[in-house]
Amino acid sequence: MEKPPILEMRDVCKSFGLIDVLHNISLRVHSGEVLCLLGDNGAGKSTLIKTLAGVFNPTSGTVLMDGTPVTFSSPRDASNRGISTVHQFGGTFPLMSIGRSFFVGVEPTRKWGPFTIYDRKKANEIAVNAVQEFGITRIDDGDRLIGGLSGGERQSLAIARAVYFGARVLILDEPTAALGVKEAAHVLRIVLQARQKGIAVIFITHNVVHALTVGDHFAVLIRGAKAADFRKGEKTREEITDLMAGGEHMAELEAEIQHLKAPNASATVTTH
């Protein structure tokens, strides 16, 4: 028999008052697998992961971990069970040092005479090692402030932190959205490294290229409903783009744009 998925949603609906945001979503993610969640702005991606991260409870439907139904009482409950969420901008404490923010709430301590004190050296060392293990060697001083890191470095640090604290499911909400090409590539590489460690990754993105680079499994959300669910290699980049645009053919839309631009375009093009 197949091992049950590490995390599964069955017919999950979520409404805020009269507004239905999610309709009958069923999804499964296995360890060592990247599930890409695609969808336009407002499609419900963030709401979906918030029901997995313990921020909201589903209005109906069930969430299962290792085949057993679970209800998360809080984000902390979800993270205690191994579900780690990295929000869009990674570090949430810009004015804290790398070491201190890495260990917020679980600070390592040591004895100093009769006192128990924060072990800054150990915290910095572990934090720096954890992120260097993912190949980000530019971070080598745990006393640096989070706010001084680049967007990619912050994402990498947040992912390294989740992995260090034993995340089994890693949820990344648009981790590459605000990044440059090279930084995004670094983050994608780290996602694949996390996957190699056997972690299940839920990767939210707008960017079809990024999704195709790391994804094993894809789900497209349109207005809160799952419009498609397919595995790597089953659809081309163009097909996925069309799906995300809500079934309209992007090619047609692009042709239309070309047409609208035509008078201008011909004016400049005739010069050659």
Binding site: S74, P75, R76, S79, T92, F93, P94, L95, M96, R100, S101, F103, V104, G105, V106, E107, T109, W112, F115, T116, I117, Y118, N124, D140, D141, G142, D143, R144, L145, G147, G148
Partner: protein
Amino acid sequence: MSSSSSSLSISGLLRRPEAGAFLGLLGVLIFFVIFGSMEFLKPSGAASWLNVAASLGIIALPIGLLMIAGELDISIGAMIPAGSMTVAILSGHYGLPIWVGILGALSFGVIIGLINGYLVIRTAVPSLIVTLGTLFAVQGIVLGLSVIITGTTSVALTAAPWAKFIFGQFVGGTFQVIIFWWLAITAVYIFVVHFTRYGNWIFAMGGDKISARNAGIPTEKLTITLFVLSSTSAAFVGMCQAILFNSAQVSAGMTFIFNSIISVVVGGVLLTGGFGSIVGIFFGTLTFAVVNQGIYFTTFDRNWSSLIIGIMLLLAVLMNNTFRRMALSYAPKKK
């Protein structure tokens, strides 16, 4: 490692939250040596500003922590006279042993702190407004009860020698003993805030309260603790003043509200929370006290000290922004 070497370098020191406060203190010291006299650095002169700094500093420290945590407590303005009047009424008017008065004053502080903290976590009302409410409420209670009980707004108190020795003597004729309390309390704060994990929690809470709570930090307990600390500290200062001066007045303490906030901001604490240091608040308080008292050592009219304090506050805020930017943009040089 680069961390240990960089924290010793000049640029490393400049990145620290207390850098601006330290430079500010140097600046005002030089100013008053030039425009005043060396007199104010000599023991008798130093006593004048150290006495001011000590009472203010004991209150500015918890106010600074509250601001780092993203809260504010202005009810301390009423808690200082509340502390004075409680000890004076219990031990002066009723003649109870002084320890009863001391305990009463501190308990009053604890109770008001609990009320402030509880209201802040249970309602969505900003702490500025909550403590504005308790500021007036406590003022009313103290004034009302004082008049009912003693018939006046000023009560005499003769403390037992031991209490006088610990809380209200002049060491060497001019130094109030509260200076030593201030130094000892500062040392404890430095230890707890910068060397234990609880300090980290305060900074995390001020940085992002929701993330801090999700990380398992007991933000509500911590908030209440900080409010108890500030109002009890204010009651403590009031109590010490009553024992020192052998009397208590209902109206004394409103200036502490602004003065403590100025000390904290000059000390490099970020108004939006999440950044600052105990040493910075300590220097900020000293700077304030030097300006406040230094004016008497110059030929200037004392009214000008407000101008200096105002300019200093603005400079401090600008300077702190610069230092913070430096701290954020800092990246170690490649080796």
